[in-house]
Symmetry: C2
């Protein structure tokens, strides 16, 4: 039996998984991310905890295939990042440094892309090789998988689904500096923005309260049949569904996996997305399937493990 | 020295190239495409002409790596097509049939995608591994290359750049049945459509003539400083430039290669596309380079050769 490590490096905690090479998880644990001093301790801390865990499980070094890592930054093909605000890193040769620290082979990818790979391997896209993943959280992230491989791009900035423009008439500015990005309509904060705009002018009765409305409130009210909430969900669904129809014309995936906090509302959100998607999908992509993400916060460690196993 | 064949199967002619494995072309020739009887003779004709050519060049069968083919249809990962209107084919296991006919290993791809691979190998994108190619002809086609590989997708329908929606207000219907596809604005026929719409209401002096205007006329007049033509080119550039900004957010390419008949107008078209692109590009993609396609009608045979060499 061979083993590998999947590491999901976040700004608060580092999640780690010890895997058998068939994908079985032997152990899962977390350590705190020490972002002090430009995050200098992060990689040594990861290396140290991995070695303790290998000792604990009596796994020999020669039986370890390597370490896969997802980090919150664009990652070049050489495993280098040009800075990560969340970790405090400036320019950092992550792959090289981690290989020197650990003595293992290391592969590194962007965390959102790596999570998509995890969902393809063991989650909502299991068994598929062509997948689009959209993560609806505070922002909109994602990952594109083509023939089993992450579309990482030249700067490691592939799959930035949240920053395709879906509304050229928008006047509000996105965090990225552009106007009309998908993230402004389909993230948790985007849904709140849509809701507040609607509630400002709304005269019909609704349970939604303008000052405190959350994305969860919107979908909770949708489930109760609240007409105003349904219209907000339809607007969200239209922006996202149309954007996904365009992405499918480019990627021709088998499955679209929807994850992130917003997706916790469940199957109901797929209905709104699918209705809009079907209006606009290119005929060659009409057999695409929708699924909810299945791995939750573990998608990152699964994808990181796959990143080293597939190499 | 090893050799391979690159075959570009079109509805009128089949273009063939005999390559050394370093990419040097030893010979280029064409045969007529016999589309009679559901195109039954096409593959046997190709096999026969290849064998004559190998004899002519005194190349032994064992020195041939294989045959790459581009065909005008979506192609599955197994090398099967579900019909090609241009060739008369219904369901056809192209890879299997051609391997049986020739005794060589065969790889098959969609012609537009394969042409993109050719431009990456030896054309406008030479030296790059992440590329977006857009072909502006009667329609808008294209191909996406991620880490050196074609994004073919589940049905072999990846890279359908012409059918992403760029205008949700459009009332005219695209050939695909949708409304607002990029093809309706950026193909040769799309540019004519934009020109005619503008010329119907135009009161300023222009050399463009509504009833006979072509895409070439538009760019010829642009070069002479015709203000009406310049505005048409700006409209074309905006639709295409904005669409490419979105594609870059997904693919993060190094280079965007523009080919097809419309691109024969030269560098001037890049100016209109780039101006719009730069207004909307996601910051991580701002270093992307634009280039004109360099291989013309030979892109298909180069890409087909690469398809078998890279395997």
């Amino acid at each position: 039996m061979k083993y590998c490590l999947g590491v999901d490096v976040g700004g608060t905690t580092v999640k780690l998984g010890l895997f058998e090479d068939n994908g079985t998880v032997l152990d899962k644990w977390e350590i705190v991310t020490n972002t002090k001093n430009e995050g200098k301790a992060i990689l040594p801390d990861i290396s140290a905890t991995i070695f303790s865990k290998l000792v604990e499980h009596k796994i020999k070094k020669e039986d370890v295939i390597g370490i896969g890592m997802g980090v919150p930054a664009p990652v070049t093909a050489e495993g280098t990042v040009n800075g990560s605000a969340n970790l405090g890193w400036k320019y950092k040769e992550v792959k090289r440094e981690m290989e020197e620290l650990s003595g293992f082979k290391v592969n590194v990818g962007n965390d959102a892309n790596v999570a998509a790979l995890g969902e393809m391997w063991k989650g909502g896209g299991a068994g598929e090789k062509n997948m689009v993943m959209v993560t609806l959280g505070t922002g909109v992230g994602g990952g594109l998988i083509s023939n089993g491989h992450i579309v990482a791009g030249n700067n490691g900035a592939g799959g930035e689904i949240g920053h395709i423009c879906v509304n050229y008439e928008e006047t509000d500015i996105c965090g990225c500096g552009n106007k009309g990005c998908l993230e402004q309509y389909a993230s948790a904060t985007g849904i709140v923005r849509l809701a507040k705009k609607k509630l400002e002018k709304e005269v019909r009765s609704t349970k939604l309260i303008k000052d405190t409305v959350t994305a969860k409130d919107v979908f909770d009210c949708v489930k109760e049949g609240d007409v105003v909430a349904i219209e907000i969900a339809e607007e969200f669904g239209a922006y996202l569904g149309y954007a996904l129809a365009n992405i499918c014309a480019l990627m021709d995936p088998t499955v679209i996996v929807i994850g992130g906090g917003v997706s916790k509302a469940g199957e109901i959100i797929l209905t709104f997305i699918k209705n809009a998607f079907e209006e606009r999908v290119f005929f060659a992509n009409s057999n695409v399937r929708f699924a909810l993400a299945a791995l939750g916060n573990d998608a990152g460690i699964y994808g990181a493990a796959k990143l080293i196993l597939e190499d």
